[in-house]
Symmetry: D2
Subunit: 417 residues, 4 copies
């Protein structure tokens, strides 16, 4: 007899319906750690440039889980055995791969918390959940750490052609409205196969892979590293840094207790690992699990009226989208140009030497769309040979794609009131 109402279906604007398996996966999604992802935007401040890009990490994690299940079924249909246990573990691994992300995703990495990557934090969260669920996440964690012999499962979680990328490229282009970033994920997925426990792409999928790499590069320059997005993120970082500076001096800024803790204390990787109690009953990881976009933005809105001029100016600029002017170039910013700008705005804004660095500064960003050193994308040629896409493609310019591009930028205020 059928039990139609037990299945859980989620509507997704990108894929349509997504089946949520019952059992552990369903419970993990219900867990407050995972629900937190509903309050963290996937693309940080990108919505200040692409208003539609307001989507959340929650949607992305569910979408990637859906792709994982699709890929696994396709691989099975080609004659490979993947057990239900392995399937569940792979789905859990991708579901949780980004659980460690902090507010505004990448924008605030290394600002609120230093020297701890979001991957490290993801693993700590997984371990904690694993304790709660009495070892049921063992295999998921093994796959996440690449300690399982079926390497392709890890490659699908984290590799040149993982379901993480397949989902985020499609999803981010969907929500931003940058239709050129759309990738043929359906076709790529149909072309995946396994050779010696490693992920490969059938040779007739070469054009799709080329297109995927080009689309990824396009999304980098057009969306992820868009100059105005970069400028907005720098403003957010500077605002938080100033708040941290003031807090560490002992000033009590308006902030949720969790944010206040991270503003007033420098925490390191070991502090998270020890997971001792830091605020009432809350451990450090719990406290971190309380942080999301709402803590940050609500605090900044209040800081607009703070007496510290640097903080209030930065905050007001952030809230009212009065972003830095930004210059991007292939060479480092000329030191004299920088000095001149600093001098100009120090005077205009009556700032001290210590304060001007929040308003006029330089830094750099890098990007490469395909890394030959990293995991490769292996093409299964018709003669059953394996070739790296860089070799298999008659386009030959993968070398260009895999070249790390470093760009330098300088920010300074746009308008003063």
């Amino acid at each position: 007899m059928a039990a139609p109402n037990k299945r859980k279906i989620m509507n997704d604007p990108v894929y349509g319906f997504i089946d949520i398996p019952s059992g552990l996966i369903y419970e993990i999604i219900e867990n407050s750690y995972f629900q937190r992802l509903r309050r963290i935007k996937q693309l940080g401040l990108t919505y200040l440039v692409y208003p539609g890009a307001y989507h959340t990490r929650f949607q992305h994690a569910i979408g990637a889980m859906h792709l994982m299940s699709t890929v696994i079924n396709i691989i099975r249909s080609k004659g490979h055995v993947i057990t239900e246990k392995e399937e569940n573990a792979a789905m859990l691994a991708i579901l949780l791969h980004d659980i460690g992300h902090g507010p505004f995703s990448h924008a605030l990495e290394f600002t609120i918390v230093k020297n701890v990557t979001h991957e490290d934090l993801s693993l700590l969260f997984m371990d904690k959940l694993n304790k709660k669920y009495k070892g049921k996440l063992d295999l998921a964690i093994k796959i996440f750490k690449n300690e399982y012999h079926k390497k392709f499962l890890h490659q699908l979680v984290s590799g040149q052609l993982d379901v993480d990328r397949l989902d985020y490229l499609r999803r981010d282009s969907f929500f931003s409205g940058v239709s050129e970033g759309v990738i043929g994920s359906d076709r790529i997925i149909k072309m995946l196969d396994i050779v010696n426990d490693e992920l490969v792409v059938e040779s007739k999928g070469i054009y799709s892979i080329e297109k995927f790499l080009i689309a990824r590069r396009l999304m980098y320059w057009q969306v992820y590293l868009h100059k105005t997005v970069l400028s907005a993120e720098q403003l957010l970082v500077k605002t938080l840094l100033r708040a941290k500076e003031l807090s560490e001096k002992g000033e009590m800024l308006f902030a949720t207790p969790a944010l206040q803790y991270f503003l007033s204390n420098d925490v390191c990787a070991d502090d998270f690992k020890n997971d001792k109690k830091v605020l009432g009953d809350h451990t450090l990881l719990d406290l971190y699990a309380n942080l999301d976009d709402y803590d940050i933005m609500s605090a900044i809105k209040v800081w607009v009226n703070h007496p510290d001029k640097v903080l209030s100016t930065l905050s007001s600029n952030m809230i009212n989208r009065n972003l830095f002017k930004i210059v991007i170039q292939n060479e480092p910013i000329n030191k004299e140009v920088l000095s001149a700008k600093k001098k100009e705005f120090k005077e205009k804004m009556s700032l001290t030497d210590k304060e001007i660095k929040y308003f006029v500064f330089t830094d750099n960003i890098t990007n490469y769309a395909y890394s030959a050193n990293d995991e490769k994308i292996n093409i299964l040629m018709k003669n059953n040979e394996l070739k790296d896409i860089a070799e298999a493609s008659d386009m030959l310019n993968i070398s260009v794609l895999s070249k790390k591009v470093r760009k330098y930028f300088m920010c300074y205020p746009k308008k003063l009131d």
Copy 2:
């Protein structure tokens, strides 16, 4: 000579590119009142059911402005004169029609602020902007208030077939992934015309209008009034009401200053109109303009740890998506059933008589997809007669659509920990 970089183009996932005219419209969009809409979700808590529906009022207002411009050009192409000044005013009117919305859009209407509709507030904001811009919004306000002789301009801002609805139905179905709500807005727009300064639809557009009404009804029951969305909104309302009760008793809850003011004070329409200073330099309207989704959600996250058991339970349920169970039916909830539920949970949760009303309660909702009393949708028949769609449609059931449907619901806790 061309000046290609002066134009401002926005990417919209729904319509593609949207041209933003320079001048006043551009300045209004840059204004902090309007930028605030970036921080208010169009569909309140709907994202707890449809994770994609996290889009903002900002996107909707820009989208509706775009449709206004499209409609005006189509009407012009049919031989009607609409001046540039009128076009600009209509675009401003639609841009600002929802500027008065508070956090979480409709979900909190009448909770934070009583007896003041968001339309009233929109008008106050427009008046204030009009002062700032020295009367340049006069015509926009006239159109908004339906005091301009070209009535169709008001009808496009607010009527049975306004660009507000045309945009939100399409946008909300796009982001929620409920593809059945998609309306043929392109075709409807092509069919619009003007007769005696009133908006009409060419007769061959009848099927599209029928479909539009059906789609609207479907969106109501499937999205806007979805039982789980309703349940989530009730939880949010009860949480805020409890916070207000405690605040009015004098307790200081964690909240941004703006939210704190509205929790501790009952304000009425006149208070807004007088717009006196209430907090430092801030007038009441300014304070309201500081409120958005972030104030609410960050406060509730902190209230999870509040000593008041009612507030902390409601807050924790809100943050962790532990929503009320909800029963919806066509008849009022039986009083005895309600009493029994109250009794049951009073005991289970050790609550007092005064407290139980936050957890077990009943209320009702109504909806009608087409109101015959309201503005009509006029069809321009081939013989140049005008007919209301209710008459023109051979489907005959517009009477069903225009029947006000009232549904009654009861909420009570799902699981207790």
Copy 3:
């Protein structure tokens, strides 16, 4: 070891990739009877109004087969057993359900061949293929004829909610560009279930079903029975009828041998069943299997220069899209109006009494979107009761949908040269 290249994948603009199972299904698709569907347009002459609607029966049959496979997997996931043999048979049944269609699909039914429906012919083709494949289509034929105990399999081939309709509504709206006809087939399919071997819809699918019925009705009036399409089809019918009249008188018209046979001979159902040889080695069914859109259109192009004025005028009008004017109304055409038109054009065109009926004539069409007498659409209510959608829907107007609508029309020439 995987054998990736054995699977056959087809690209479909509507669903993306479609898997073609190997074995009998693949062979049937390769068969010349089925390949013929590549040369028969799904919507006859609709492309004269909607230029994109040039798609073929081949695509539709493959698409419907794909949906059948999808539905069967969803039903299985709800705990019902459907054997692989049953699945294959159902896929074959839907693949072949329209194999008997003649040129231009419905447009020429009862013109080239009288008193034989395309369903009868489909069955004859299936029987013939069954002989060739030594009984391997037995079960498919049983399902097609509704002689199999799992009635839902037949309902999926031919019922109020069959995969035939689900595919054609979506496909026809896709290609015609009438986006309002798009149905939420994904959601409907997810909601299907089986009770007592009959197809039912879960109660939360009610709105989707309502939308499906409305969309179907819209497609009828906006596309399938569009007045210009109707006018074009009437022109085609009249052209063929004149050609048949001349041929039966013994005139040799230019035509492929197969078309010539059907123009010169009246064939009945029994002639097909006996399937005797009629032209060299060709049986009647073989000859019919030779007919497609190309025979008709190439002949008409030549007839433009035929000495018979009626035939040449009709043909030229057909080729150059000089269609009849058409009047459609709810009541029969007034006899005097018709007589007057006949008189007018008899004179203008110097035609005889016998000839004018090819240019001025009247007829009627009917349509109903939901037939209560027919198979019902059963909704599985939450209390496990079954209700017909006409009862389950609170829209109440299914009665309107199920009312047979008859419209009367009159055609006459538009312009004369």
Copy 4:
């Protein structure tokens, strides 16, 4: 007063609604020369691989006309004057740019008619229409021939970035279902501008252009030069060549009179230019204007039963999709390999030396996605300099794209019955 019903709107699945201007453009579309394009498939036999790719030249021409109008309005919005007369002429030029195409588009170029390109024929058709419309196409023809001083109008008709390509890439990927070919034509169009009467692209459009070139290359290898499509086209060519050989020997094959003329006579460019009467009242160009896909396919269906074994085998293979096996490689086919294949099949099929060339043969194809020699794609850099995309792109591999790729192929029969 408005005249809503005068405008003509066409539904297009790709762009939605397309406005058809009244006047000359409307009359040209109604003309039988243009209506003929409804009977010529845009992609020849591609539908044998991608069943959805059954769309016609008619749709493409209308779509390209729509894009022309869109581009012109965007260019105007950037401050350039384009008169209504110029706009109309450009729309006519693109509408008619392919009017000279014969049956199955490119597949039969140089088979039915030798040494006359379809561009030559398009011009002859335009001249003929120009005579009929008394010089009203003068400017359209000037633009088509690149004799008008506003060179960008010609570039939009025929250049590296013309609306022809912009439409066909998008349309062909839409109908074939090869979604990776989708180009961001909206964005490209928004980026177009004019400098010194030449078409340029704003610098921020660089990524879109790169994507456009990559998509075009992908469409070439995945669709236009797909090996099975190539194989099908070769089969069609060989079938027609055999029919021509037999006809020239005096044999009367079944064919429409128009096709029969071209099978029996070799015609050259001058014959078309002289346009003398060749069949009754029909001139050569008229006769050509009678040819479309229907003449070819209906004839081949009849030839299946022709006594000439070569013709009947080729025809039967064509109709039943029994295509040649095809080998494609980067080097010329080895002569011995070819000889061996010829020998093998001569014996298997009992063919003579003269006959085998219809079944076993070799040839080559070339493609380049961007030609540096040709018209360039000029990017308008921020410093107002113009740079060729090959230089402006930091992807650097335009050199690869512009390299002519030549591939060699050999065909031979797949299965013999």
